[in-house]
């Protein structure tokens, strides 16, 4: 089956999964409302978003310089910085690190970038056990599922499914009580934390001026992941740089508000190099893996604005299309509005049809803390893929254009449509044919008016006073 038919079918199937969609509806609406309320309570919210967008755009315009500065500062703090041109290279760097040091048990903080490069599978292939420590990711992992949201990986699961997975995989008594489930997971993970030797995290922001890594989490697992094991690997896309430490508060004010409506994340961790001799804890080694994986190419292209994204997930929560299909239907690591821009850019034109999975309503743009014009980017991607649309659709559009170019043909077209739909039941078409079939699959179509406006104008309206 073609990839295109595949997407259409995946979407159609997803829209029938009531259980998942109910969970996604509840969660996205709750988070979107919380976001709105927290921004309403924030003074100068729009000025703050404007400032954040400016900082991100400025950084990207000067990315080579800021990257260089970051590498210099981070290295001076004792970190080892690696460059990975693509996903496989990043996986090789990290697996090699693990193999060379005989590391066997890795704990992970939540990282979409690691999902992007398939890091868990690469580590497991060389015999390193990887345990996700973010509660949502932990449940995804034990249930052999995939995350369906970049911030809330189990947004598609209800508590029954979580309870089933925990009881089955951990052998604990079955309970649906979230607090109890959390306690069980915590107990399980404590033991893992005691024994682990490798910690892997993503990074929310990397400060060029100081070489600092900033990590924002809500569960405290990030902090455990970077302090318990003897080696910490931080994986980040090259676009995660911000110029100065003083820029950080701008983003900290926006990030959690956009994600969950919290004024700030519960744990904000600033990492300045590995453990120093007088530090009570921390890893002996800190490795920072800077991932390109297509980002430089995006930066040179017309859609570079997408790289200003801070991965807050607000656009997913705001999107009525995401709400009605859930994340898995996108078939990509990054779902939702931003995912439909990022995925075709990272994985190539075969994914371009994702850009069509949007009504362009603009709720994403309104929610975006760095003011990315996601609908405009989606339209640009659609334009790049227009020539690869199905031939029937292209033909239809060409005919439509010819008709619209000639007022007499347009009038004829109106008359033909009116005639074709003359038998409409009580003025409504219930089962359309040809191009109208997909319309009447889910809604009726009113008959065109007996008299079009231009007929009305000529017959009466023009001379009326």
């Amino acid at each position: 089956m073609s990839r295109r038919a595949d997407l259409r079918q995946r979407v159609a199937e997803a829209t029938r999964n009531e259980r998942v969609l109910q969970a996604v509806h509840q969660a996205t609406w709750r988070k979107a409302d919380a976001r709105e309320q927290s921004f309403a309570a924030l003074r100068h919210a729009d000025a703050l978003r404007e400032k954040a967008a400016q900082i991100r755009r400025h950084t990207l315009e000067n990315l080579p310089e800021y990257l260089e500065q970051f590498v210099e500062k981070a290295t001076a703090l004792g970190a080892k910085v690696h460059f990975a041109p693509d996903g496989p290279a990043a996986c090789r760097i990290i697996t090699q690190l693990a193999a060379d040091r005989g590391l066997r048990l890795a704990v992970k903080g939540k990282s979409m970038t690691s999902e992007e490069i398939g890091l868990n599978a690469a580590l497991e292939a060389i015999g390193v056990r990887v345990v996700e420590t973010d509660l949502g990711e932990f449940i995804v992992q034990i249930d052999r599922d995939r995350p369906s949201h970049i911030i809330t990986p189990i947004i598609h699961k209800d508590r029954r499914e979580v309870a089933d997975a925990m009881a089955r995989e951990l052998g604990c008594p079955r309970t649906e009580d979230p607090a109890e489930l959390t306690r069980i997971a915590r107990g399980y993970l404590r033991d893992i934390f005691r024994r682990c030797d490798l910690g892997i995290t993503g990074v929310n922001f990397a400060v060029a001026e100081t070489g600092t890594l900033c990590l924002c989490t809500n569960e405290g697992n990030g902090r455990m992941t970077i302090t318990r094991p003897r080696v910490h690997v931080a994986l980040l896309g090259i676009e995660k740089i911000i110029p100065r430490l003083a820029n950080l508060p701008v983003f900290l004010k926006l990030l959690a508000r956009s994600s969950t409506g919290q004024p700030m994340g519960v744990y904000t961790t600033l990492i300045n190099g590995p453990r120093r001799p007088d530090d009570p804890d921390g890893p002996q080694e800190l490795h920072i893996v800077l991932l390109d994986n297509g980002r430089s190419a995006i930066l040179k292209g017309p859609l570079r604005e997408v790289l200003t994204c801070v991965r807050c997930g607000a656009c997913l929560n705001a999107c009525p299309a995401y709400r009605n299909v859930g994340g898995h239907a996108y078939g990509s690591v990054y779902p939702g509005p931003i995912g439909s821009v990022v995925t075709p850019l990272l994985y190539g034109p075969a994914c371009d049809d994702l850009a069509r999975l949007s009504s362009l309503c603009g709720a994403c743009r309104v929610a975006c803390p760095v003011q990315i014009d996601i609908p405009a980017l989606l339209v640009a991607l659609r334009a790049r893929a227009a020539d690869r649309q199905p031939v029937g659709k292209r033909l239809l559009l060409s005919v439509w254009r010819r008709v619209m170019e000639h007022p007499w043909l347009y009038r004829l077209g109106q008359a033909v449509l009116r005639h074709a739909l003359r038998d409409a039941d009580g003025g409504w078409v219930r089962t359309g044919r040809g191009p109208l079939r997909n319309w009447t699959l889910v809604r009726d179509l009113p008959r065109p008016a007996r008299e079009s406006f231009r007929q009305l104008w000529e017959a009466r309206l023009r001379d009326e006073r």
């Binding site: 829209t15 299309a321 009605n324 069509r356 709720a363 339209v379 254009r401 008709v403 889910v442 008016a449």
Partner: protein, 253 residues
């Protein structure tokens, strides 16, 4: 007042109607209301017959050569009008916001058209300085749908202000998309239908049966969905309600 207002008939504003293809074909009454309102408030109204479609469906779905071909026709079709007024905010946005960025369209031509193009409600409010809210009447509670593609033309708060003196039943999430989205509606019909269900649920829960919707495409989608589900919702353009309120049109039942 300037001299023109005192000078009588010759000094009236010349307004060209940009009716848009969907309104022309499916909702001529909205066009009629627009004409009557403009005349009522002293404009001389023209309907340049060379106009067809602004190209928005092609633009949104990425067929930009087609969109440019149609948009290029617009400045010529609407040449000579001092103002161009349309009942559709999304078509206004196509001309004013997307058009100038489209390859293959003369920047000067489209720029001049963009500058003189107005959506009807904002034209009445900003150009003719009318208090829409003060003139609107309705015999029943009303609710409203905010068309997504009106962003940048008017906001939810504007619509709410215009309807503010009616028995207004605020819908939850007034700016929730109806799920139309141009070709999206037929590319992913099941998804478009689910989004439509969310929208109709929100409107139905408002308690009002009369829905103000100023966008023909959204009305096509929502009225079609309401009819399929048997919901007792009726959809009106604000221009229709205003023309009815001023006695310029018979109230439609």
């Amino acid at each position: 007042m300037d001299a023109r207002a005192a000078a009588g008939d010759d000094a009236r504003m010349d307004v060209g109607i940009f009716i848009t293809c969907l309104t022309d074909t499916f909702f001529p009454r909205v066009g009629e209301a627009t004409v009557r309102l403009l005349r009522h408030f002293g404009c001389r109204v023209h309907f340049p017959p060379a106009q067809t479609c602004c190209g928005q469906p092609a633009y949104n779905s990425g067929f930009h050569a087609h969109a440019a071909a149609l948009l290029r026709r617009m400045p010529r079709a609407l040449e000579g009008c001092e103002f161009v007024v349309t009942p559709s905010a999304s078509c206004a946005a196509m001309v004013k916001e997307h058009g100038p960025r489209l390859n293959g369209v003369d920047a000067g031509d489209i720029g001049r058209l963009a500058a003189k193009t107005w959506e009807i409600c904002t034209f009445l409010r900003d150009r003719l300085q009318l208090d829409i809210a003060a003139s609107l009447r309705a015999r029943e509670p009303v609710t409203f749908h905010y068309p997504c593609h009106a962003r940048g033309i008017y906001e939810v708060a504007d619509l709410q202000a215009w309807l503010g003196r009616l028995d207004l039943r605020l819908p939850t999430r007034a700016d929730l998309c109806c799920g139309f989205g141009g070709l999206f509606a037929v590319d992913f019909p099941e998804l478009s239908g689910r989004m439509l269900d969310d929208k109709l649920d929100s409107l139905a829960a408002s308690g009002a049966r009369l829905v103000i919707c100023n966008e023909a495409a959204c009305t096509l989608q929502m009225a079609g969905g309401a009819h399929r589900r048997g919901l007792p919702l009726r959809f009106r353009h604000l221009a229709e309600l205003l023309a009815e309120s001023l006695g310029l049109m018979e109230a439609e039942t």
